[in-house]
Amino acid sequence: MINFSQINLVWLPVLPLVVIATAAMVVLLVGVRVDDEESDGLGWLALASIVIALVLALGIFGQSGIAFAGAIAIDSFSAFFELSILIAAALTVLMSLDYADEHRLPGAEYYSLLLFSVLGMMLMATASDLIVIFIGLETMSLAVYVLAGLLRRDPRSSEAAIKYFLLGAFSTGFLLYGIALIYGATGTIKLVAIHAALTGPLLSNPLLLLGLGLMLIGFGFKVAAVPFHMWTPDVYEGAPTPITAFMAVGVKIAAFAGFLRVFMVQLGPASAAWTDVMWAISALTMTVGNMLAIVQSNIKRMLAYSAIAHAGYILVALTAGGPQAGGAILYYLLGYAFTNLGAFAVVVALERRGAAGDQIADYRGLATRQPLMAAAMAIFLLSLLGIPPLVGFVGKFYLFNAAVHRGFVGLVVIGVLNSAASAYYYLSVVVAMYMQEGGFLEETRRSRPALVAAIAIALIGTVLIGIYPEPYFTAAGNAYQSAMSPEEVHAATAMAP
């Protein structure tokens, strides 16, 4: 008999995953029996499972260990990312309920795929070997490819799905190849073992370097870093808006979870091998994202480019490395989840079937017709722009602060200038809402408490986490540290005076 105690099956920490997986299947089976017009129940079921998983994930904080024969890491890092992902998922479900009805989306597929993608994301966050990260990434991606194309009557939606799928498959190849090369270089796929194997003259090991580079490309695609970003605007524009929101937030968080754990935590010792590349990608991503956002007239495309730019800001801290940067990224992603989902929720609230109402010009005069909706949108956009004391500013400050401390002054200069330039396009929406007249958007339909709740929660998050960031940032910092090996923590604390 095999001794299974070696494999270390600890079920409690993976319960959130189990709950989500089970719920996904239940929703699928129940859902096929339910009419598309009555899919609300499925949505609530999904929401309930997400909330349960959220509560269970809270229990993981403070634990540490590696389970399932080294496949799963149980630490605050996983917990923090799981929480962020689940919050994003919950808000997505809330803003989907009416949207799914109105656009006659197939409820069973919609909610079960959403849950499956959440499952993949959580798996990425908890994975501690490269294969599990890959499985998580694929589970997430395949589900999202389909979700992007669920508006079957809208050609743009199909276009989005196909483009995303083709390019996604393309980039998956690079990621997998990278994993293979890393395995070739180190003889293991376990992150901890890779970390331990990173000794000696790393920069002359071609297998390792190429593997690193290819994995960087694979993750770069998922976080929409330039030049691997080309799919983003088309896909964001075509996909159902709640799914766009989920892609812009959930997928990004999960991809950064993988990115962070692989690069900053486990490949940290080899940082000399990727810092320069990351530097260039980060600078490019910020600049191109912002420059192109300026000329967009469609709000979903504008937010897509804005999402690219924000990935660039996060990459600034990733380039810098170090525990402070890690905490800053975790905090930023949490705040970004609230802010960006809030902005998309407003878009969802205002758009009409057949994609009418997603032009920035349609927002003209919104402030006089719907002052509260306009005010919420303005706050989300100002937070994205980085106006204190909203969370966007505090997060950006943490990111840049961390980079400054590691001496990446040039990158911070680029980042700050970009952030200043971004005022132009975020403000064009604010200007349209407050200072122009003529748009037609109005929420004339029945009041939709779920959607309003989503906006309200996002608003509270955006303001509260900004004004009182300390507990969240502390939690984020601890979470990041929990993913590092003890000797690294020691080294990091010894380094900072």
Binding site: M1, I2, F4, M25, L28, L29, V32, R33, A108, P206
Partner: protein
């Protein structure tokens, strides 16, 4: 660096050979195009219809379902061989695996993927 030198040499030689041969062919070869030569080659049969002809999407569904069970069998073979050593744990794991696949099958069935009409 030295270990990689032969590879580089090979690459260069390969590139040269291909390039030179293509160029020679282009320069020396006679060119007499005709309609028959321009036709698509389909195993000697006269070509008919467009290459973009349509198939019923149901073939695709069937193929996908086949693939799922194909993979299931591949996975279950080694499990069946080692079932005694894997014991109760292995049995439960395999059950979960089959249940998950079954959920997919039930879904496909309920959605009507198995009805040809």
């Amino acid at each position: 660096m030295t270990t990689w030198f032969p590879v580089v040499v090979t690459l260069i030689v390969a590139g040269l050979v291909v390039g030179v041969m293509c160029t020679i062919n282009m320069l020396l070869g006679p060119k007499r195009p005709s309609e028959i030569k321009g036709e698509a080659f389909e195993c000697g049969n006269p070509p008919s219809g467009s290459a973009w002809g349509r198939f019923s999407v149901r073939f695709y569904l069937t193929a996908i379902l086949f693939l799922v069970f194909d993979v299931e069998v591949i996975f279950l073979y080694p499990w069946a061989v080692e079932i005694r050593r894997l014991g109760m744990f292995g049995f439960v794991e395999a059950l979960i695996f089959i249940v998950i696949l079954a959920v997919g099958l039930i879904y496909a069935w309920q959605r009507g993927a198995l009805d040809w009409d």
